[in-house]
Symmetry: C2
Subunit: 248 residues, 2 copies
DNA sequence: CCAATAGTGTCTGTTAGACAATATACA
DNA sequence: TGTATATTGTCTAACAGACACTATTGG
């Protein structure tokens, strides 16, 4: 930010510049039913609303009286829709133009969040639960036609997610606290839409500080599987395979 | 973006929400004098201005009448300061809070740009050339105390740049059209602040589609060096070394 | 014992890094 | 010829992927 002395006359008021609309949108992902899902909300049917009755990413105007920061605003949206308080939350980017919102020049700050599966029932959406819904999403996007430029934002979110899954531990945030390595691998495979090799996957995961064993096992009609948990509940691990330092 | 029916009453006007200030800032990098440099501008000395006389990233309010998009706004700032029209330009993120600007709730959309070295003389800054200056920057940041939260934004830009240099061809955008592999390697080393191994570097670069030979050579008091140019002038190359597909 | 999934081991290919050898210009 | 840098080659270590083998539960 900043006005610079040569381009803009000193003007301590903001009257010199017409202010764009400022919003925040969140692409909230989870894995359920063996598929990557994104949370969408249905916009009001009122005819004076832009994109009435269309599905959209949860979001809305920044409330300068309630939101201390942009991230606070995103967290508020997330909590309002899902009840989740501590998600993995990452800034995705911003989209701003004269044309993206019929109400005027508008800029949205987009985030994406990863959360463990939450049942559709517990989606909190005020009165009407049908207004918020998980929708399966593939590399191609989601079936619905979305409001605003949300199709583009969602596509960017999916692209970012898939790209980072290639070299980070992000999928761990899509699982509950304790999980088996097979479950973790399955989530990787769902997001990447391809199979991974078991042995290499386990070696790679265990070679990092990503997880610790718990004393518990997942029981089933077969050999029990070791349960693991994240070593650090908040920060993702980066699998780095790049240049290595050569000492001067 | 979006108001949703349950959280916000239908209000086609924007009066329901007080609008934050909307700005764009750009961290413009180049390599000169064997160092990574960032372009800073000095803010007006007027006492009614926030952070008078402080160094800051080039930026300013979005002008809804001139800027069709956020990126247009960033490109305009870049051109105003450097004359450069086609830089490598990437969105960095956004910073917004009630406290970052004394004039009120403010959100800035930050970009970073990579350009070939431009002489200090040709920095265009209206009347006073001393108001725009290249400053060397290390992993620790820049020496000056910057206006607003620009120190944090600059740190994020440097972090992002260094991270991406590990696995992309971004440094190529810091060089003129034609360059030798040694020159390219040197830029990598400057940004990463460590030496790279010559043979491995060349193998890696030539294994990709990054560059093509030109018929020209860089002459000197030694064996002439092959000059290369980028194969694609706009898109960076990603050196991927991650999971490889396993068929089904 | 069988089915099913968990977990391990062995081999191979790729590539980064270390380091040395060779190439080619000017002085 | 000497110096400086460009360019190539050889060897090794690390690790992902392929694939097969062993382990352990319930039925």
């Amino acid at each position: 930010m900043a006005k610079t002395q040569t381009n803009q006359p000193a003007a301590n008021t903001s009257s010199r510049f017409e202010k764009p609309l400022t919003t925040v949108d969140v692409a909230i992902f989870t894995v359920a039913n063996d598929a990557l899902q994104v949370l969408l909300v249905k916009r009001a049917n009122a005819p004076d609303e832009p994109f009435p009755n269309r599905w959209a990413l949860p979001g809305g105007f920044v409330d300068v009286n309630r939101d201390a920061t942009l991230e606070d605003c995103a967290l508020r949206k997330l909590k309002e829709k899902t009840g989740v308080i501590s998600p993995y939350l990452e800034q995705l980017g911003s989209w701003g133009s004269a044309s993206r919102d019929p109400r005027g020049w508008s800029a949205t700050h987009a985030y994406f969040a990863l959360i463990p599966a939450v049942s559709s029932d517990s989606l909190t959406n005020g009165a009407n639960a049908a207004d918020a819904q998980w929708m399966p999403v593939t590399a191609l996007g989601v079936k619905e036609t979305l409001a605003f430029d949300h199709k583009e934002i969602l596509a960017a979110a999916v692209t970012r997610l898939r790209a980072k899954v290639e070299y980070t531990s992000l999928p761990a945030f899509l699982l509950p606290k304790e999980f088996t390595l097979s479950e973790l691998q399955r989530v990787y495979e769902i997001v990447l839409e391809r199979k991974l090799e078991k042995s290499a996957f386990r070696t790679r995961v265990l070679a990092t500080d990503l997880v610790t064993e718990t004393p518990r096992f997942r029981e089933g009609a077969n050999r029990p599987a070791q349960l693991y948990k994240l070593r650090s509940a908040s920060k993702p691990v980066f699998f780095q395979r790049t240049f290595k330092p050569a000492d001067d």
